[in-house]
């Protein structure tokens, strides 16, 4: 039995495991975790014959050894090539998201670069908002959620005109639009009052309201102030999330044959969206990995990176890239508990070796900095050994073979 685990006694722990069975299992090359699972399987079957136990142990061991990465296999290099080669076949720039009406999303190579660079904001942020309960099945209820998400500005609600003679801005609200966008309000009057209050609060002016017409002007008669007020008025968000400029509603079929409404948004504010009533906070996602990270944590960010990179490749018909390569990329990017980019500001820039960093980008400044600070390169990595012309410590490069000048006795002759 393995020395480190002398305390571990399967015969005591498992009722149906006897000395012979445990000897067979312990004889395999499996890690402790998998040996325990073999015991559990045997236990679940209320014990098995010794031949049977041997079959199980052998099968598990051969599967384990088969799927294991070989020692000293350069998995990172293989991943880089496996993602890089299909990358050369990707379009330089494509827009238009397949299937979703009129929402443009960055795709192809620019999107892949954006992901591995861990940009703070994607070029075209978007959210996929799933709904729960009756919001997902009834169109009216789904629209209620739409109006809570899509930013409503004044131009969507009515006409804005400036009266230079009276030095006044006049907003003529459209009652039907108000009814549509505030479905839960009691009356149009109430909504118009709410809008007038918002204008007063945001612009610091007094408003006069007559039914759905709101009028206000600058304190002192000034043409410039008047235009300034109109500018500011256009920016006010009366309802919804400021970042979301547009929402598209779609009916989608679920796996179980039912249909539900799903919202696609242009612009994203993930934290705000999952707090809205009617939004299913367990399935809603966005394409900004930093928003996922700050709201759901590093493990969710890792999942999001894998999903987003894989989807980007799949959209381009490059779905034969093995998912393990993308998992490795995501693992490295989230290894320190935060999202780090691949590249000189992230992983490659934080490498220990001066030569490895200099080989990546901005060679001269790295070498200069290293010289100023008197850095030492221990030549442990791959890149630096390639540079100085030594064998790299990977694969056969890390195995020393020595041929003796004499045999250890008993040599055939």
């Amino acid at each position: 039995m393995n020395g480190e685990y002398t305390e571990y006694n399967p015969i005591d722990r498992f009722e149906h495991v006897d000395t012979d069975v445990s000897a067979v299992v312990e004889d395999t090359n499996l890690p402790r975790r998998l040996k325990t699972r073999v015991y559990k399987t045997i236990e679940d079957r209320d014990g098995v014959s010794i031949e049977h136990a041997n079959d199980i142990a052998q099968a598990v061991e051969s599967q384990y050894i088969d799927t294991r990465v070989d020692p000293l296999d350069p998995v990172g290099t293989v991943s880089a090539q496996s993602i890089g080669e299909p990358g050369t076949q990707m379009t330089m720039n494509t827009f238009h998201y397949a299937g979703v009406a009129e929402i443009d999303v960055t795709q192809g190579l620019p999107r892949l670069i954006e992901l591995v660079d861990a940009r703070k904001e994607p070029d075209t942020p978007m959210m996929t908002v799933h709904l729960d309960g009756e919001h997902a099945t009834e169109r009216e209820k789904a629209h209620e959620v739409v109006w809570k998400i899509e930013a409503t500005r004044i131009l969507a609600l009515g006409d804005v005109s400036t009266n230079v003679a009276d030095m006044a801005v006049q907003v003529d609200l459209n009652p039907e639009t108000l009814e549509e966008r505030w479905p839960t309000a009691d009356s149009v009057e109430e909504v118009a009052e709410e809008i007038a209050t918002t204008i007063e609060g945001q612009l610091g002016v007094d408003t006069i309201r007559k039914e759905t017409v709101i009028q206000f002007g600058p304190e002192e008669p000034s043409y410039r102030d008047l235009l300034q007020l109109v500018e500011e008025l256009r920016e006010i968000v009366f309802k919804g999330i400021e970042e979301v400029s547009r929402v598209v509603i779609r009916k989608e079929e679920l796996e179980d044959g039912n249909e539900e409404f799903v919202l696609y948004t242009e612009g994203s504010a993930f934290g705000d969206a999952i707090g809205i009533e009617g939004v299913d906070a367990s399935r809603t996602t966005c394409n900004n990995i930093h928003e996922i990270f700050s709201n759901l944590g590093v493990e969710a960010a890792r999942n999001a990176i894998i999903n987003e990179t894989m989807n980007t490749l799949e959209e381009q018909g490059l779905d034969d890239v093995n998912i393990r390569h993308l998992m490795l990329v995501a693992d490295i990017m989230t290894n320190r508990g935060v999202i780090e980019s691949i590249g000189r500001h992230g992983i490659s820039g934080s490498k220990e070796s001066v030569l490895a960093r200099a080989a990546f980008e901005v060679t001269v400044s790295h070498l200069l900095d290293a010289a100023i600070h008197g850095e030492i390169d221990d030549l442990n990595g791959v890149t630096e050994n390639v540079i100085v012309g030594k064998p790299i410590k990977l694969g056969t490069g890390d195995v020393d073979l020595r041929m003796g000048s004499h045999t250890g006795g008993g040599a055939a002759d």
């Binding site: 480190e4 685990y5 890690p31 402790r32 975790r33 999952i274 707090g275 906070a281 367990s282 399935r283 996602t285 996922i292 700050s294 709201n295 759901l296 944590g297 590093v298 493990e299 969710a300 999942n303 999001a304 894998i306 998912i323 393990r324 998992m327 693992d331 989230t334 290894n335 320190r336 508990g337 935060v338």
Partner: protein, 75 residues
């Protein structure tokens, strides 16, 4: 507030007991600080997790049923 642990992107996070931790470190033959990290402020962490704890994460894996990984809580 929204319960982030219910989100489908968030795998299960549990604090690892000390004796289990020893087995894990022995199996991989590593030190605790060699593990991947997770920030104390991470929203998916259990509330009682403290800096220095090791978290067991049970992921739904794309290549197998579930994959168990470990992260050390930092800062």
């Amino acid at each position: 507030m929204v319960d982030v642990t219910q989100h489908e992107l968030v795998p299960e996070h549990t604090i690892l007991e000390d004796d289990e931790l020893e087995d894990v470190l022995a199996e991989y033959d590593i030190k605790r600080t060699d593990l991947p990290k997770i920030k104390r402020a991470d929203p998916a962490l259990p509330n009682e997790a403290e800096v220095g704890d090791v978290i067991e994460v049970v992921r739904d894996s794309r290549t197998t049923d579930t994959a168990v990984v470990y992260r050390l809580v930092v800062e």
